[in-house]
């Protein structure tokens, strides 16, 4: 299966490295990174995975990886690849199990000073209000008919049922609904796993984080996004829960069979795929859209309960709190998009696995309110350091199919992180740094210790210097709810 062979990396400039096409690779690979981060990548198989993706039929231009690249399965985390819509493939492993895992950012009219006396209480209140933890189940008991509506409508279902407002939809990628969702092709097992979990955060790297704006780099974009220094913000990171995992799992098996029928030679079984035009390819896209919509409804509900928790604790009205959604982005998804390839506008299926869309000013998919500056890009860091807001650029359209990084990216495995945190009072260490954490389990907390991740500022610096997105603001975490 996958070989342990060392991959040859050629430096192009300070932020780009090329993996030259060899063997059955159809295109070169390009990794966005820095000398420093490249050193940490040495023991990791992720460059090999970038090369493996270049073997897939219909791949356009390059197999790309963002600076938060780390070892995934099949595709690397941080991988971006576009396949011709007519001649190319779609691969569930290029999206990942947590379909439409993503983040959303809210602002508020509170300043850091306003919230300082209540921050610990707020951490407790949010932990109480937001169902989290391994296999967490929500308060909701959906019927199959209701779940079908969620899968078709996404965020709009949540809004119709009292979670949030129609304005939220204007500030969500694709208005929180992916076209082509067909609940009829989703397995009973996915429905069974999805029904009790809608409206839950989950565990692992998913979180809800109250923070504040520490620094502004681009005052014009920040003004348009509604961000001000010292303003209180909320980041929500979650996805499609067991529903999405099951959809991915079901289709990996079906596509494994397709790969055998087609006689495709793949360097890793997890790269199983089918041609977009073929039946299994079309069915996967229809099932993936259901999971994407589930995830959007989920984040919309989590946001609604977050707003309510603020209102109750602070005894403030929604109008006074001003908790507006800035934006919601997906970072595990395959999208039908038009890109300029060899001077021609071509329809492609862009896979972003741990990568974020970063569309430039003027692009029709950017909400009207942001169109003059570009699409907001949300980059959560680890829980001890900082998160960033970036903005999409023309550079991303030219080089990376309108894509950029999605977060910090792991450097330590979960086992290594556990060893490094053994016996340490992590809770207190974080409190000393001014971060109040409420976690459903200590295990998750230690696996997610800040040093298990790359420094997100290094990641952001690379995409900023490469011009595939631009820094707008830096946020500092303050109270974190982990699963």
């Amino acid at each position: 299966m996958s070989s342990q062979g060392k991959i040859h990396l050629e430096k192009i400039d300070e932020v780009r490295w090329r993996i030259p096409r060899t063997g059955k690779m159809r295109v070169d690979g390009i990794i966005y990174t820095s000398e420093e981060m490249l050193r940490d990548m040495n023991l990791d198989e992720s460059p090999k995975q970038v090369a493996n993706v270049a073997h897939l039929p219909g791949i356009q231009k390059y197999s790309l990886a963002m600076p938060d690249i780390h070892w995934g399965y099949g595709f690397p985390i941080g991988g971006v690849a576009a396949f011709d819509w007519k001649e190319g493939v779609v691969s569930p492993g290029g999206v990942g199990y947590d379909i439409n895992c993503g983040t959303r950012l809210l602002v508020s009219s509170l300043s850091r000073q306003d919230l300082r006396p209540r921050i610990k209480e707020l951490a407790d209140a949010l932990f109480e209000s937001i169902p989290s933890g391994v296999g967490s189940k929500g308060a909701l008991r959906l019927s199959s008919q209701e779940l079908i509506q969620v899968l078709k409508k996404g965020s709009a279902w949540a809004v119709e049922n009292g979670y949030g407002s129609p304005q939220d939809l204007d500030r969500t990628e694709d208005r929180g609904c992916m076209e082509g969702a067909d609940p009829g092709i989703v397995s009973d097992r996915a429905m069974e796993r999805g029904r009790p979990q809608l409206g839950t955060l989950g565990s692992g790297n998913h979180f809800l984080e109250v923070g504040y704006v520490e620094e502004i780099y681009d005052p014009e974009a920040a003004r348009v996004f509604g961000l001000e220094k010292d303003q209180v913000t909320v980041f929500i990171h979650s996805g499609s829960r067991g529903f999405g995992y099951q959809v991915c799992d079901d289709f990996l098996k079906k596509m494994g069979e397709r790969v055998r029928q087609l006689g495709l030679e793949l360097p890793d079984r997890q790269l199983a795929c089918d041609f977009i035009r073929d039946r299994t390819g079309q069915e996967y896209l229809a099932g993936m859209a259901c999971a994407a919509n589930y995830a959007w409804a989920n984040r919309q509900m989590l946001m609604h309960w977050t707003r309510e928790a603020f209102e109750r604790l602070l005894r403030m009205s929604p109008r006074d709190l001003g908790m507006h959604l800035v934006y919601d982005v997906c970072h595990n998804i395959a999208k039908r998009e038009v890109h300029l390839i060899e001077g021609q506008r071509r329809e492609v299926c862009v896979h972003r696995k741990g990568a974020t869309r970063a569309f430039p000013p003027g692009h029709p998919a950017v909400p009207q309110i942001y169109r003059q500056v570009g699409q907001p890009v949300l980059i959560p860091g680890d829980m001890g350091r900082y998160s960033y807001v970036l903005v999409g650029t023309e550079g991303a359209m030219k080089e990376t199919f309108g894509s950029t990084c999605h977060g910090a990216g792991r450097v330590q495995s979960r086992t290594q992180a556990k060893k490094a945190s053994k016996g340490r009072p992590l809770h207190r260490e974080l409190e000393d740094r001014g971060v109040y954490v409420r976690a459903a389990s200590r295990a998750t907390l230690v696996e997610e210790a800040p040093e298990a991740y790359k420094d997100v500022s290094q990641v952001v610096e690379v995409v900023h210097r490469a011009g595939i997105s631009r820094k707008v603001a830096k946020l500092r975490p303050w109270a974190v709810v982990k699963g």
Partner: protein
Amino acid sequence: MKRYETFNHTADIGIRVFGKTVEDLFANAAHALFDQLTDLRKVGDRAVQEISIEGADREDLLIRWLGELLFLCQGRGYLFKKFSILHLDSNSLKAIARGEIFDPSRHRFKTEIKAVTYHQVAVKQKDKGWEGKVVLDI
């Protein structure tokens, strides 16, 4: 003989599993999955499930076997601790899994496993028995 060991994989858990026979290997892989999920000392064995799987080859069968057990755990609440492989060839498997339904007052999940991946999956006969490799997405 060691039943399994974990190996480092940046985002996930890698598992190297051993067995005197290929049947042993499949039973030990299932044990490894639940040993990673929960504290098996606290799990009883009165619930019984019969499981039949078909697959393209041994590697595919191993992933489908573990995937089936994971679904029964996360979709229906089963924690399994004992496994008897009744039949195994290169395209099908029949087995019995014994365990208990998750009870929040006594059981705890150590970690959430999203899926059993095909990444680098291997089932190989070695000099002294069988060895397999799987990566769990967590």
